[in-house]
Symmetry: D2
């Protein structure tokens, strides 16, 4: 099998709404340690200590909660044009975003796929860290002096909820049209799949789908940032405890998940309800050009040999798109 | 208040029985990474990578499970004599143990206090690690080359169960007679205490008491070993998962406890039922000569600011004394 | 600029000779903790805890020292054919390697480029870990139970020495013909470049070139394996001290390098002289599709703001190709 | 041998002078992460994240550099009286310090021993962390939210320089009069001792003596603080590099020392010249009541089995007493 290259290079950012920007910034910036690149009117732009792009998370105060869109950067400029032509040929409704409509992002296109607001872009600004905060190392953005004891490094992945058949259609589109590599999937005892994990990079996943009951809403479940080490993850749990922030919606601590070999925990911005996953540890990097998806079943996941600490993590409530 | 010095210098060892020594050694030595100093007949002697004494755990195959005794080393030779005189004066039944009856241990005395088999000794052998396993560093015992990815460092503390009033009597004896420092205690909502943590060293505790209902048995709950780092604790959880060994009796992972600020997890030897706590992270060292016991209540322990990940750890079943 | 895709997917393995296979296995397997997949006649095949391929290092006892070849896996089967045609068109002397001539590796081609023995292959076996050593996690190869306290995870990169003009020609070939991405390079005070770091993956580098004086030999400098954490790197230094193995040829410890943001140390197999770099910490992952090479100069590398602990690492003696 | 108890419970604090308090606070507070308890006139009082006492370091702006005194807390109130009587009997010149002369410290006495300004005290304030900074955990002082990525935990030890015979006299006094336990010492090839490490707690050392040539000044060499982990030590080196702060006076990174099994590095306050050691890792805790001092010689310390990374650490220049 010859694997085709994806038109997508990497996950770019998530744009979310919040009813209270100050409270959301308390959570994401002060407590969690994401850096604020810029605050412009009702919108704040944030990124991790090693994120090069202008932002990997934007928060807009608008009286509501929800995800506006999530964005992928294309592999090159032509790939963006080709994606546009492809969407046009498929009859998708394309929204054109002017350069600078989102600070730092050039011309972009948006399409709604299976209820999810996808954005694709090529041009992007990569602003330096502010004077006094930039690292003396040219392969870093911020100096370690700037970070708190969590200090997320970089955006890692997103996870979305698809009801019923949508999950299967979304899966097929990601694999067949977008050429994302399916790294792992989960098959329930009744033979039904309910989870898929995909990557366009060697990360264990850049995007994942969780299948929900037919009548449930299409939702955005979480955005994940990567931490430098297990110790930072543990400290993150510690700091959440100090602030009374519930972990995993369950008052428990960092977990190890079998799927994607994640050391992780989940917390929610109290203002917007946007869930943040902190993802740490080496996990695995997948450089294999002929990877066969790992097929998880109940008996390989749990049972006597249980690699799923904390019963598998968060609850599956997400937030809507706005 | 002038704090008197305790006749005790440190926790020494735990002597337990097992119905299957080979299986117990698979658990404690192969999986957990304790080092075997010596196997002599039906008894194996184990210790951690930085334990100087001949052993800190002994396991004797005897067709039964249970703890034979736990032992404290006295502050000096005279302290052992004075303890003996004191027990005699109090009318305690003293068992004299000849030197070498336990390999590596000199003359010792044993008394049963509140159902627990206490041993006290002064003389002890401190054998070097075997040729090829000893560290080139003279302030270490074993070389890191010898350790697996858990490799407990040293015995840390023991925890016992006392039913009803016994707990209060045991508490008073440890404080008043033995001059152990009470570092922390827990008071339930009804004003009743159910937990006490004591030290004769700057460790958060060398021995702790858990109060059980009046009609429950007096039991030994666990022996704890200290690991070098949080990462080793996490790996221990990982390795337990590989072997299907339940963590905390609940299939969850490493926990953070508020009391004694413990990063920890609990596992049981499948053969003997003896519970092992792996204890890691910096916790705290208590050098204060005028320490006021920390008084924990439900509202400081849990509630909105929850520092008790995993609901507080293990279940409270222990094993009997034999 | 449209980045073209490289015909290469990843670094595969290094094949080296040793005058004493037992001593080399003591070093790479017993001390360093690489796993032995297979020992077949005079050749041992090794890999890291998370390496999927049959081996990432082979050692053949042959009375001599040196590197036989290093190998890259192609992006797909067609890419191997196209590479062969390209080399033929360029008049390169191609050596065809039959499937199985190296255990686990299918048909391969070899060309000598600038004195370095390159191998390219597509087919490869990915044997499971032996019974009792495989992880219960299907996205891992070996269980953590198997590892020692170093336990390298996966092959990371190689570094070679090119004398004089060869370095510039090699650089051009890697960028222009092989479409490797140049991530970082170093320019000395006199305006001359002496180091280049390239990747076909998001790793900081898969291969690097060090320029040596005109009359020096073309050499292989080191192969690097990745460790899980800084702590494992530190322990590796500790274990080397126990065995009297010199670190960095200089009796010093783990270092931080500015270029590629490496936490690392260098040791040599005493039998073969093959240098092993242990590489740890998060370093950085480079997902940027429009990366501009970082241009290091003396003043950004060292000086008052010095990110080069230990003066820059190892000495620059390598070993020859055989 | 019956070990007598020391009149001293623990190391308390170091009081130093600085020509520029703002610059010293930039170094100790902003960069290194010590917490400021209070700034009162020309003096700032600092402590680590887990230090209970009012301060463990004070810095007074006075136009000069140097150490005013270092202080030990006595085991109890009577021990302070007995020490005073003992010093009087020996004809020592005793300086009486009124309660509150140093903020947070009660009545104290000072004596100059072998040129070092010793202070002893019993009464001390243990102020809580400020509102919003205190941990919800009652066995901690500051919340992890407050810390930067170094965030020293607690004062660990001090190290002083004694010229010639003074070193031997100081050694005898610490052992014989003060009942400090000698844990390790170093004997040069010519049979002369040049280093001694003592403790009154289970730490590897609370105070150490370095012997200097006969005509050198009596100096204070460094004060050490303990970090939570090796990773924090590494980050400390990283942050020093960002600020152009030389490590070990030698532009190298964290080191492992054989003596006291230290993971450590040394930096100097650019304003006062006071050297700070950051001390991390488990080292060892010494609970043995019958410890025989470890006798280091050149051949056990270095040579082929070298546990002294970075050539043994800092240079031996200290600062004078004022």
């Amino acid at each position: 099998m010859k694997r085709r290259h994806s038109p997508v290079a990497k996950l770019g950012h998530v744009a979310a709404h919040t009813p209270d920007l100050d409270e959301s910034l308390w959570f994401f910036n002060e407590v969690m340690g994401l850096q604020v690149t810029e605050r412009d009117g009702d919108t704040a732009y944030l990124r991790g200590m090693r994120d090069w792009e202008h932002h990997t998370l934007s928060l807009t105060e608008s009286g509501k909660s929800g995800v506006d869109h999530f964005a992928f950067r294309t592999a090159n400029e032509e790939a963006l044009d080709e994606l546009e032509q492809q969407f046009e040929a498929e009859g998708e409704e394309i929204t054109h975003v002017e350069a600078g409509e989102e600070n730092g992002i050039g011309e972009a296109i948006r399409v709604e796929k299976f209820g999810h607001n996808y954005e694709f872009y090529w041009d992007v600004e990569k602003p330096d860290a502010p004077e006094g905060q930039r690292s003396g190392l040219r392969n870093r953005v911020y100096s370690e002096s700037v970070g708190n004891r969590i200090a997320p490094r970089r955006i890692d992945h997103i996870h979305v909820n698809d009801p019923g058949q949508n999950a299967f259609d979304h899966d097929e589109w990601l694999r067949e049209t977008m050429n994302f590599q399916l790294n792992e999937r989960f098959e329930a005892e009744n033979g039904e799949y309910w989870g898929w994990w995909y990557a366009v990079t060697p990360l264990p996943h850049d995007i994942a789908i969780h299948r929900e009951p037919e009548d449930d809403p299409t939702q955005f479940h979480h955005v994940a940032y990567h931490l430098d080490s297990l110790q930072d993850l543990w400290t993150a749990g510690d700091i959440c405890s100090e602030h009374g922030i519930e972990i995993n919606n369950r008052s428990d601590g960092p977990a190890m998940h079998a799927i994607t070999r994640a050391d992780c925990m989940y917390v929610k911005d109290p203002a917007s309800g946007l869930r943040l996953e902190l993802f740490a540890g080496p996990g695995y990097l997948n450089f294999e050009p002929d990877w066969e998806p790992i097929e998880w079943k109940e008996e390989t996941l749990g049972g006597p040999t249980n690699h799923q600490w904390h019963g598998g993590g968060p609850t599956w409530d997400g937030i809507d798109y706005v």
